[in-house]
């Protein structure tokens, strides 16, 4: 099987984990790669822990099972740490991107990680300051683009702008783009 990248999104119902997976999938698909984007199909309740997934490959993807060993984990809500098993199945060199006001080093300690890479971003603050509502999924996509190198920020913003314009007013679209671009700049890695 060709190189397959798997991503797991952790969030709470209403934070947009599924939307983030779909927007990422659409943008990566537009760049010519093959993708899958799907949520964990469970009860959908506001505030309940939810999962969403992406698969990305240069070859057609035929797998239709759940993602068990994601190389990248994105956590939209830091209150899930210690409650949802965000490290489950992640390989030793896995990459974590977490919405928190803690530093990557502090988050690494909380997660009990020895390997891999940890990035943090206060996506809730960014979304409050740009969009005016606590919707962390948009900024977290900016952080993912920066840390994963899947697409250039310009490619991602151009595609996501098209998708958002189909659904939202121009000022809302601009605020979301601002959130993505700020997150791209502000995401923190370890020293």
């Amino acid at each position: 099987m060709a190189e397959l990248l798997e991503i797991r999104w952790h969030g709470r119902g209403g934070q947009g984990a599924k939307t983030a997976a779909i927007l990422l999938g659409e943008a990566v698909s537009a760049s010519g790669k093959y993708i899958q984007a799907f949520p964990e199909y469970g009860p959908e309740r506001m505030g309940a822990p939810v999962l969403a997934f992406n698969r990305i490959s240069d070859e057609p993807i035929r797998l239709h099972c759940q993602v068990a060993n994601p190389a990248i984990v994105v956590v939209l809500d830091s209150t899930l740490i210690g409650k949802a098993d965000v490290t489950a199945g992640v390989p030793e060199d896995g990459l974590y991107i977490i919405n928190t006001n803690l530093s990557p080093g502090e988050m690494r300690k909380q997660l009990g990680l020895t390997g891999g890479k940890v990035y943090t971003l206060d996506a809730t603050e960014i979304s409050m300051e740009t969009i005016g509502r606590p919707i962390p999924n948009t900024p977290m996509m900016g952080a993912l683009i920066r840390t994963s190198g899947l697409l250039t920020i310009d490619e991602f913003v151009a595609n996501t702008r098209d998708r958002l314009e189909a659904k939202f007013r121009p000022d809302i679209v601009e605020k979301n783009i601002q959130a993505i671009e700020r997150a791209y700049q502000e995401v923190q890695g370890e020293e």
Partner: protein, 394 residues
């Protein structure tokens, strides 16, 4: 050629319906209905189709209205899932008995009780004897392609049978993947104009539809229904050939994957076939002679061709995402065993795995485990357990 897009199964099927542009769509608009009808309703209100869209108060009425429209001479479609198909039950038999070439996408979802909305083809497996043609799809691409081909198959003058095209609930219907959609004009030309030979609104040539048909003629008409099903296979292959010309994509009665020189094989249907093909590739890299047969046309069942494809295998496992409660295994296994009874050569060892009911995941390790079991059966010639429930808490 059209370009590849990121799309869910529901979106892809709704696009196919928009391109088919049926005369009438009658559908029940709320749960357990799928997004297919919601997207199609958008096309209607945006003026993107010429369809008369009838929202009805139940699936029983949806199928009844579709039957009425089709009998009147319209190209008529509906869509449903799970309990919705169950409620259509009575009218499914009427559609086939009246030889109405209705086409319906069905999203495979489990039946109650307990209440469950997730993937499981128990709904359409239960409708296997209703006289409808059944075509199953692995992913969004196949669901889209199969639905377009279904119009031509159903309406073929040798066939004239209602046809359902299925895909797995949520895994394919709501999951986003990639598919290549055809251009509108290409689909329009492929499906062509529907010109029924006999229809109610043909006032020059009045006919009776739904007449009383007791012991004097009922049997002959049901016999004709079976005869129509014998014509389906050739039409499916002919339509597939023409579809390849416009799409480049190849379809057959079933999909034989690395099967020719395989010593052991899995038979599977719908989305789990994709996962299993990935397992086949991995095991082949280790030098193991494993293969796969994916069911596409399930009704009528191309039993002879399937038996030929599997003859000579040392062991075959049939994976069913539905139970028959006959205690002889799932519906697919029972048909496969019957088909293999007449296969040439020595008796092929066959086992059944019932998996994934109500959307329970089936992963690569589990499928690799089935191939391990098959290789053990091939080696020893012994079957210790004919029917296994895979991935369930006992």
């Amino acid at each position: 050629m059209s370009k590849r897009v990121a799309i869910t199964g529901n979106e892809a099927v709704a696009e196919a319906m928009r391109q088919i542009n049926p005369d009438v769509v009658a559908a029940y608009p709320i749960t357990p209905q799928t997004e297919i009808v919601q997207f199609f309703a958008d096309f209607v209100s945006d003026g993107k189709v010429d369809t008369e869209f009838v929202t009805v108060e139940s699936e029983h009425s949806a199928m009844s209205a579709t039957v009425g429209a089709s009998a009147a001479g319209a190209r008529a479609m509906t869509a449903t899932s799970s309990q919705g198909l169950a409620l259509m039950w009575e009218v499914l038999y009427i559609a086939s008995g009246l030889r109405l070439p209705i086409v319906a996408p069905v999203v495979n979802r489990a039946l109650s009780a307990p209440i469950n909305i997730h993937c499981d083809p128990s709904d359409t497996m239960g409708a296997r004897d209703s006289g409808w043609i059944q075509i199953y799809s692995e992913d969004a691409q196949e669901a889209y392609d199969n639905l377009i081909q279904a119009v031509r198959i159903a309406e073929h003058p040798d066939v004239l049978l209602p046809t359902m095209v299925t895909m797995d609930g949520f895994i394919v219907s709501h999951g986003m993947g990639n598919a290549k959609l055809l251009n509108d004009d290409v689909v329009k030309k492929f499906v062509g104009e529907y010109e029924p030979e006999h229809y109610l609104l043909d006032v020059e040539n009045p006919i009776t539809v739904g007449a009383l048909d007791f012991s004097d003629w009922y049997f002959e008409h049901r016999r004709q229904l079976a005869d129509a099903h014998t014509k389906v296979k050739d039409v499916v292959l002919q339509v597939a050939k023409e579809f390849k010309e416009i799409s480049g994509r190849e379809y057959n009665l079933f999909d034989a994957y690395r099967l020719d020189d395989a010593e052991v094989a899995i038979v599977v249907i719908n989305s789990a076939a994709g996962t299993a093909k990935t397992v086949v590739d991995e095991l082949r890299e280790k030098g193991l002679k494993v293969g796969l047969l994916k069911i596409r046309l399930f009704r009528p069942f191309p039993h002879k061709e399937i038996a030929e494809a599997l003859s000579g295998k040392k062991a075959v496992a049939v994976l069913d995402r539905a139970d028959s409660l006959s205690l002889m295994g799932g519906p697919l296994y029972i048909d496969l065993r019957a088909a293999m009874y007449d296969s040439p050569g020595p008796r092929v060892k066959m086992v059944n795995y019932i998996y994934g009911l109500g959307g329970r995941d089936i992963n690569m390790e589990q499928i690799a485990g089935v191939y391990d079991d098959l290789m053990e059966i091939a080696k020893t010639g012994e079957i210790t357990q004919p029917v296994t429930y895979l991935g369930v808490r006992e």
